[in-house]
């Protein structure tokens, strides 16, 4: 079966193509349109997927949209009426988008993508998330927990994945209805802390390490957690179900103190009382979320009696919580879909139709390099045509040595290899790399290259055989998460001493373990750096400037290179050095 999955219209649109159970390509629209978290119909991503599979739209068996739009519309209508008369603005906005366009997305998709309505299928939002995790995982029998802001009407779901006569099945056990959502609670407090919803959550996670969970009692009144893992939001404190722009009420500010003005300065460690309070609120939020998730996992275990767990949905991007689920949760094995957010729904929708509906073989997700790549010859031609000076290395070893040498003396550079990554993280194909040993390097990358807040940590990538030297893998269960940077790991004493650029204040790091299935050039680079410095670790951050999507093409990489303070840029086997151009 040749199946195309699509997610769109909420945030982070994406397309994925699955041919006979093989994930041929998957990419987010933002990489093509260069609009961060572009939510519009992913026409360019679809085009790319078809190119990669060398198929035309007519040859596709099914195009699967990742949710049921009409059910979502019903939920919105009802919750608007319930909120009456408080939601004029949100009502206006919702009616305009839905009656104006969203409601007619079926005919719009057919028009824009050139498919027929007979080709078009609709999955369910949380089912798509569940499929994106379970069907890529190595498990036969697993509990599947999907947690996000809200889908059609569910906010959290527990599924059971199992095989029946060799055919994978996904059974819904429980679901939690809107507005009772840990994801929306997290987002509301992200807004309270002055960050942008849907992308500031990472910042909150980073910020939480600077504070103490002093407000757990207050949080207990924001939402109550049942013994059965259910959650009930106290509507006194939140307004996301009726307010168009503000997600929390004055009552929340009365409880936790005034909210932070977006854009006001944040420096840590800090003596400022308010700044410390924000960190404490972030820490309390993080702890509250983790504890809730642990209770939820307990219920998922009871419901499924399974040994393995699959996670997806936006909340599964919380790598700190994932670590605690691995360590303290009731499951032996844990797998997280790397594109856990709504982009991942495109892949899940396609996989569901492929593996469950048509019994195609299940894929194994050994790498997230599922995006576009560029032929080295075309890169050279581009550089030649533009008159850019570069050195071409025909020997990978030499390239690795040269780049490692530059990094060991404090240089920072771009690393562009092969296909770009699926999901929000750069894992060595579109990365900016640097020496992990000095905090000064970290500060420079934050300040002059990524232009982002000083308190935010960077992630390390580490040679798989060296991981135990620097990081605590945990009860051996992180191995499934380690290649995709899905969970944090505590740093060892040696790492705390030597890797000050990549160990966060709380003594953890969001590690990417580079094993044999990773990009060979990236592995070789780590080995070369280890030979030079004795450290098989690099600081790794995505190749983008602040608030921009990760670069896709060589020209975009070059654009980021010249617009920032990067010292060098590696495009496949070509090395460009700043002082030479």
């Amino acid at each position: 079966m040749k199946i195309l999955g699509i997610s769109a219209f909420f945030h982070d649109a994406a397309a994925a193509i699955v041919v006979d159970g093989v994930i041929v390509a998957a990419a987010q629209e933002e990489r093509f349109s260069r609009i961060k978290q572009d939510a519009s119909l992913p026409v360019q991503a679809v085009r790319y997927c078809l190119d990669e599979a060398e198929l035309s739209m007519a040859e596709i068996d099914y195009v699967v949209f990742y949710e049921k739009p009409l059910r979502k519309f019903e939920r919105i209508l009802v919750s608007q009426l319930r909120a009456f008369p408080r939601g004029l603005r949100q009502f206006g906005r919702a009616m305009r988008t839905w009656l104006g366009s969203r409601l007619w997305l079926k005919s719009d998709i057919c028009k824009e993508l050139g498919c027929s309505s007979q080709q078009l299928l609709f999955s369910e939002h949380h089912l798509s998330h569940a499929a994106s995790a379970y069907l890529c995982s190595p498990f036969q029998d697993a509990a599947i927990v999907t947690i996000d802001g809200v889908g059609e009407s569910a906010t959290t779901s527990v599924f059971h994945g199992f095989a029946e006569e060799g055919c994978p099945k996904i059974d819904l056990k429980l679901e939690l209805p809107y507005p009772h959502s840990i994801g929306l609670l997290y987002s509301s407090l992200t807004a309270y802390l002055g960050f942008r919803v849907n992308e500031g959550e990472y910042k909150v996670m980073g910020l939480s390490s600077y504070g103490q969970p002093k407000y757990l009692e207050e949080f207990a009144s924001l939402a109550s957690v049942g013994d059965d893992g259910s959650l009930e939001i106290n509507p006194r404190y939140f307004s996301y179900h009726y307010h168009a722009t503000k997600s929390f009420t004055p009552a929340l500010e009365a409880l936790l103190g005034p909210s932070r003005i977006p854009g006001s300065p944040l420096e840590y460690p800090s003596g400022d009382i308010d700044m410390q309070r924000y960190a404490d609120v972030a820490a309390s939020l993080q702890t509250f979320t983790e504890e809730y998730l642990l209770v939820l996992m307990g219920e998922a275990k009871r419901q499924t009696q399974s040994n393995s767990l699959c996670l997806a949905g936006g909340v599964a991007l919380n790598s700190v919580a994932n670590r605690r689920i691995c360590e303290e949760g009731p499951f032996e094995h844990v797998f997280v879909q790397p594109a856990a957010g709504d982009a991942g729904g495109a892949l899940g929708a396609a996989l569901y139709a492929s593996c469950v509906l048509h019994n195609d073989p299940r894929p194994r997700l050994s790498s997230v390099a599922l995006g576009q790549s560029f032929a080295p010859a075309s890169i050279e031609k581009f550089l030649d045509d533009c008159g850019v000076k570069y050195t071409k290395y025909s020997d990978d070893e030499e390239l690795a040595d040269e780049v490692a040498q530059r990094m060991s003396v404090g240089q920072v550079g771009g690393w562009f290899q092969g296909r770009f990554e699926w999901g929000p993280r750069a894992l060595g194909n579109r990365s900016i790399l640097a020496d992990p040993r000095y905090a000064s390097t970290r500060d420079r990358v934050n300040r002059a290259i990524k232009f982002r807040e000083k308190f935010r940590p960077f992630a390390p990538m580490v040679l798989s055989e060296d991981t135990h030297l620097w990081f605590d893998l945990g009860r051996n269960r992180d191995r499934l998460l380690a290649p995709f940077m899905c969970s944090v790991m505590p740093a060892t004493a040696a790492a705390k001493e030597k890797l000050s650029a990549v160990v966060h204040v709380d003594g953890t790091a969001r590690v990417q373990v580079v094993g044999r299935s990773s990009n060979p050039r990236t592995r070789r680079l780590l080995q070369a750096f280890k030979k030079k410095t004795g450290v098989g670790v690099l600081l790794n951050t995505s190749m983008n400037l602040k608030d921009e999507p990760i670069c896709a093409s060589p020209a975009e990489a070059y654009g980021a290179f010249v617009r920032s303070d990067m010292d060098f840029l590696t495009l496949e086997n070509c090395l460009i050095v700043k002082d030479q151009i």
Partner: protein, 73 residues
């Protein structure tokens, strides 16, 4: 740097009539859903809202005649 196969080239896009028919089916499906869930009484509201939407469509057409549209009102 890559060759681009236009997605639409292999398909004749649906005609305006077909698309409107598709929209009609979608509206019917929505009505069915609401009736199934005992919310049939929402339908009149949606009809009124749709008429408003048509009105809004007119407003958006007026946009083209703007910025002098305020003289009309």
């Amino acid at each position: 740097m890559t060759t681009k196969v236009p997605v639409r080239s292999v398909f004749t896009p649906a005609s305006w009539g077909q698309r409107m028919a598709e929209r009609g089916r979608t509206a019917g499906e929505l009505a069915g859903l609401l009736i199934r869930n005992g919310r049939w009484w929402l339908l009149p509201m949606l009809i009124i809202m749709s008429l408003t939407a048509v009105l809004l469509g007119v407003v958006h057409v007026i946009e083209y005649a703007a910025p002098f549209v305020y003289t009309v009102f």
